[in-house]
Amino acid sequence: MSWTLSPEMRDRFDKIVARYPEGRSQSAVIPLLHLVQEASGGSLTEAQQRAVAEYLGIPMSKVHEVTTFYSMYSLKPRGRRHLLVCRTLPCALCGCAAVSAAVRERLGVAEGEVTPDGAFSWEEVECLNHCDLGPVLQVGEEVYGGLDAAKVSALIETWSKEER
């Protein structure tokens, strides 16, 4: 399967590359991959990585190194809402185990898997640095703190309604 860069996306790419000095367009690889991933339902295909590599004039190996190194990129499908549950010490001290358990139970899928309707996926992540609000869950731009099983349930209920 191939993937082509739309003129509109190319325009956005050009603007980002312009932030970096002449000859340093490789710097743009991270923001470009974010753009593509967001526009494609939250994950990246091989063809998309190749398109970014070609646009920047860098080898595919360098793009693939980036997508496999950084946690935010996914090379497997994600749900329309991808839940990030923080598991690092400050949140753990405040009860993130209950949050993970509630997410797992309410969504009915394991970490890294997508619900059959494509609506949700989740994973435990390392410190999101909202430790003043622990335990914390992030979806997209929204950060939810002070969670417990009940609050998690309520959130998922709300989102499920929005899905329908």
Partner: protein
């Protein structure tokens, strides 16, 4: 505890300050205007006299770092380290979300002092709101002609400056200054071999200064208050106020600006609201998860870089993790070892293999299959990691390992001998922890 003046956080409840005109109305940009009338060396001398310590974690004097910047006819760069990732650290996120113009003002002053005309703000990718708000602030400065070409430069001074926001994509190692630079260059966040140091050879091989968000956010206040007033807010060699985050087993977790001489006891019991009823303090980490743990009798320490170092730990990123008597230190260490092994970039042998090995041993202990010899082995592994790696992520994993095992040796041994889970990591305890 002294009253808490608000400089860095003065706009935290003032959403109007998100717009440049609101920021100016709140008193912002005075520092920059003053700096534009000074010569560059004067600015550096002022920051030196103000004893501004780097607030990314190392506490290195900021003006000394600035002094290392290499001379060149070619480009130089300022990279802002907004990759806040050290567990328990909450300060750069709020500073960017609630007062982005303050950061920009600090960046502008620093660039003016160092004759730098291009700055990149490297914001961790998960900080979506911070990215959006800083980006918006940057756009306002461009629209007003303070940034970019053809607008008369910073506040009509003719000093040309370009600032761009650059997102990360999820890697703690990009908070290491050369890991950040590698990432900015479009590669994996592999820290670079040092020497050469970034001040001589950094971004794209050019002289580069990497400064933390909070460090730069202090700069406008140093300009407006002057060195003496700034120093008076702190302690000797540690000038100014400081952002502290208190979290874990406290009733009022949060990030607050306080004078630099607040004590750890005050942070826990006054600012942080103390512990839950019936609970007692067991352990506290003063400066982010990588800092050595302190015991209840060690908390009368002033939270400045030098005092905490003398007490055998580090102020680091001032992320205070409070652990009460419900906590299993074995499980706590295990949690952190998962973090370090997950975040190790893998570039160099001791960290790549050592962090994973430490975690594996810890997992075996937690599962009830530990042996007493495991503890000394973990300490030995730490000894083979520290000092032999490209960057200090290895040290960051070793410090909690060494301090938890040394200070809670009895608990670890009891856990191992007991062969079953004693105590839990989070709020709901199922068994009391007993110490032999």
């Amino acid at each position: 505890m002294r009253p808490s003046p608000k400089f860095l956080s003065r706009n935290f409840e003032n959403p109007a300050a998100l717009r440049l005109e609101g920021y100016v109305a709140s008193g912002g940009t005075q520092g920059l205007r003053k700096a534009l009338g000074m010569n560059p060396q004067e600015i550096i001398d002022l920051v030196k006299a103000a004893n501004l310590r780097g607030r990314g974690g190392a506490g290195f004097p900021a003006a000394m770092k600035w002094g290392f910047l290499g001379k060149t006819q070619g480009p130089k760069y300022l990279c802002v380290n907004a990759d806040e990732g050290e567990p328990a650290t909450v300060k750069d996120g709020p500073l960017m979300e609630r007062d982005p113009h303050q950061l920009l003002e600090g960046i502008a002053i620093a660039c003016r002092a160092l004759d730098i005309h291009q700055a990149y703000i490297y914001i961790r990718g998960e900080f979506r709101t911070a990215i959006a708000r800083v980006e918006s602030a940057v756009q306002e400065w461009y629209a007003a002609g303070h940034l970019g070409k053809g607008g008369g430069g910073l506040f009509g001074s003719g000093f040309a400056l370009e600032v761009a926001v650059h997102p990360g994509a999820g890697a703690y190692i990009c908070g290491e200054e050369t890991g950040l630079l590698s990432s900015l260059e479009g590669k994996k966040g592999f820290p670079k071999l040092k020497p050469p140091f970034p001040a001589l050879k950094g971004l794209y091989g050019a002289p580069t200064i990497v400064n933390n968000v909070e460090t730069l956010s202090c700069v406008p206040h140093i300009l407006t208050l002057g060195a003496d007033a700034w120093n008076a807010l702190g302690t000797e060699k540690n000038g100014g106020t400081k952002m502290y985050n208190v979290c874990g087993h406290v009733l009022k977790p949060g990030c607050r600006e306080l004078p630099h001489d607040v004590t750890l006891r005050e942070l826990i019991f006054e600012v942080g609201g103390g512990l839950a009823p019936g609970r007692s303090l067991k352990a506290v980490v003063p400066g982010g998860s990588s800092s050595p743990v302190l015991l209840p009798h060690e908390i009368d320490v002033r939270m400045d870089f030098d005092s905490v170092a003398k007490a055998g730990s580090m102020l680091g990123s001032a992320g205070v993790i409070v652990m009460d008597d419900r906590t299993s230190m074995v499980r706590a260490l295990d949690n952190l070892l998962h973090f370090y092994s997950h975040e190790s970039c893998g570039q160099c042998t001791p960290c790549r293999e050592g962090t994973r090995w430490l975690y594996r041993i810890s997992q075996r202990i937690v599962a009830g299959e530990g042996k007493v010899g495991d503890l000394d082995r973990m300490l030995d592994i730490c000894g083979n990691m520290v000092g032999n790696t490209i960057c200090v992520l290895a040290d960051a994993a070793a410090m909690p390992t060494e301090s938890y095992i040394r200070k809670f040796r009895g608990e670890f041994e009891a856990y191992i001998r007991g062969g079953k889970r004693l105590g839990l990591l989070d709020g709901a305890a199922i068994e009391a922890v007993s110490h032999a």
